[in-house]
Subunit: 402 residues, 2 copies
């Protein structure tokens, strides 16, 4: 009998970590390992806002998969997943097909525009490395064009960010670092360049308590961010957002939407039952009714049974999914009992630029200012260290002065 | 009686050097000095192709005028010149007016499209710092857009350079350095990005002898530049150049025109008699029929009487104009005889990227390859040194490895 074949789809936080753990826990004769990913690199999704703002180089936010996974142990396939054929235990890729005995679906998220008219066509998304390089270049190009235009339109210098959640706020936090640099580079009056954050809910950063939210808002406002909170976007045009009941048009040269995400479209293509775009998995992280398919990371809702709602879909959770998933696949191979996922919440920190931030760590300790910014870098570096050890940390770690 | 007032228009090679020499040669009680310039900085026009390609930072190619001219000795006015009113000895600026006793017009060049249809609207020009930053950003933006587009159009990666003279060839020389970097940055196959130079004349670099031209062409072709020589551009559209008798459309994402220059439009606004856009000045560099107006640099044709044609309009010549002009203004103040301009040709070197070049120096010695590239940097550094001494050389000099 041939070895069981374990196929992991996606080399994000969940998929790459699952692959690494499987390669460590299973001997080569026990199982064949395959990792499928669109690119030959992994990128740190939680750093993408920095690539988009241009405050870090895009290469810092990615590393070669073959640098952290041994290609002699794991077959690496760089291709896009079209769909999973559950009945035949088969994965359809753009350029080939693949059978599996065990499947891990960790294909991450795509941006969700909630059907807001024109958003798909006119806004940029914080979604991948290529797209975030385009945002960075677009902003800079707008500044250069402004400088060279005869009849200057100050709106060209406005950057509009839809969504006041984690990504939206961390993005404006980087933009307040970047915009003054751009103004200097292009000899433009800093006061002409606006950064506007629009959020429909009554507060930004819903994940944090009120005092931290107030701190974050005040810190960003002091450095020039304008907030439009409790403001619903009804449409996105080429020129900007249409907001509120009077359909006011807020014009901008750069429009970014960070207001929502949903699981990979491969899930619906493959016939999984979806709940707000993701699959609500069993406690052992398997898809309901499937013995050999695990779904992790941003493709999954993992229920917090104690609180009756899903755990938050974060990078931290995704990497912990990997531990449970790898354990459970090994358990299936060894006919041992499976574990249920338990989230070990190490805290959450949002950066507000290079030297500021807000967060809650160590089970409740609140941080603001430089300590929060420092902790954020510790968090970012931890992920890099877990993937690639000291060598990768030295190459990609965040050792910016603060 | 009040002191005579000397007004210099333009802080390019000719104007800035004239001002420095006058400040040195004339005591404060002898004459009032005024320098008018559009920006508060001087830029090295002969380095602009590097800014456009993105191979040097734009700040390296400029320096603050107040760093090299003493504002206590020279009144600095940052404004644009509208026209000169010769009858009233007055200069009209955008925001004020200015009288003069002696005037130096050194307002440089603007790009000449020779009336080629659509060129003004659709091509970028190598003309000033702002415009060259825009070219750099435009090229990069095209690469980022290409990477993010679903249906990729390889033409977006093509850079089309019209004109095979000095600027055009030096620009493609920088682009062959830059394009591979961009391909790496955006994960794009190098072979998809084209650099095309189009020249109507039967040869590029008409200033050099045949063997040097052949060397330059072969060196650039080997590194991926495509030449269309003896190819006339009949029109420039949004998509590219229309060339030749069959009206072939050469498509590109970036279109730059370097095919010609003409003197500042202020000359015609002020009623000077023009010859191909410039004023043919007397041997002493004064405008014909004007006792107190000198015209220098790219605004002037200075006749080489021995050869019956004008001296080439180069930065080297412009800086030598300054020496003659400053001497002659001092001579007028002191009632001494004026000198005629004599061009001291120190040679000409064109760069072909960072480590290659062609040129003729020391009255005929031909250089190619690294020696030429080295000599080019010596030439570039010399100008910086002449303006700002060792301090400026250390700040802005070219000490790139070669």
């Amino acid at each position: 009998m041939s070895k069981p074949k374990i196929v992991v789809l996606g080399a994000g936080y969940a998929g790459l970590m699952t692959t690494k753990k499987l390669a460590k826990q299973l001997a080569p004769e026990e199982a064949e390992l395959v990792l499928v990913n669109k690119h030959n690199y992994h990128y740190e999704t939680t750093w993408l806002h920095e690539v988009a703002a241009g405050t870090i180089n895009h290469n810092q936010a990615r590393f070669m998969i073959s640098d952290v996974v041994n290609p002699n142990r794991v077959r690496l396939i760089y291709d896009s997943v079209v769909k999973v054929n559950k009945e035949e235990n088969k994965v359809v890729l753009e350029n080939s097909e693949l059978t599996y005995d065990y499947l891990v679906i960790a294909l991450g998220f795509v941006t969700n525009t909630f059907g807001i008219k024109g958003m798909e066509e006119n806004a940029f998304f914080i979604q991948d490395i290529d797209g975030c390089q385009l945002i960075r270049d677009h902003i800079e190009y707008k500044f250069a064009q402004y400088k060279n235009s005869e009849e200057k339109n100050d709106d060209d210098l406005t950057i509009l960010v839809g969504g006041g959640g984690f990504t939206g706020i961390e993005l404006v936090g980087e933009l307040v670092e970047k915009v003054p640099q751009l103004c200097k580079k292009y000899d433009i009056d800093r006061r002409k360049a606006r950064i506007i954050n629009v959020e429909a809910a009554p507060s930004i950063l819903p994940v944090f308590e009120k005092d931290l939210v107030a701190y974050a808002k005040e810190s960003l406002e002091r450095r020039g961010v304008e907030f439009m909170i409790g403001t619903k976007i009804t449409e996105c045009t080429e020129e900007g957002f249409v907001v509120g009941d009077d359909s006011e048009l807020v014009k901008a040269g750069t429009i970014v939407w960070t207001g929502g995400v949903t699981g990979s479209p491969v899930l619906s293509e493959s016939g999984f039952e979806l709940n707000r775009g993701k699959v609500t998995v069993n406690g052992d992280l398997r898809a309901p009714g499937e013995d050999n398919i695990f779904i992790l990371g941003d493709c999954a809702w993992v229920m917090n049974e104690a609180e009756g709602r899903p755990f938050p879909p974060t990078a931290q959770a995704a990497m912990q999914h990997a531990t449970t998933c790898a354990h459970n696949i090994a358990a299936l191979l060894h006919n041992e009992p499976l574990q249920n996922f338990i989230f070990d919440d190490k805290g959450t920190v949002a950066s507000l630029g290079i030297t500021d931030g807000v967060g809650t760590v160590f089970g409740g300790t609140k941080l603001t200012g430089k300590p929060a910014a420092t902790m954020k870098k510790v968090v970012d570096n931890r992920s890099i260290f877990l993937f690639g050890g000291v060598n990768l940390l030295l190459k990609k770690g965040k050792v910016r002065p603060f």
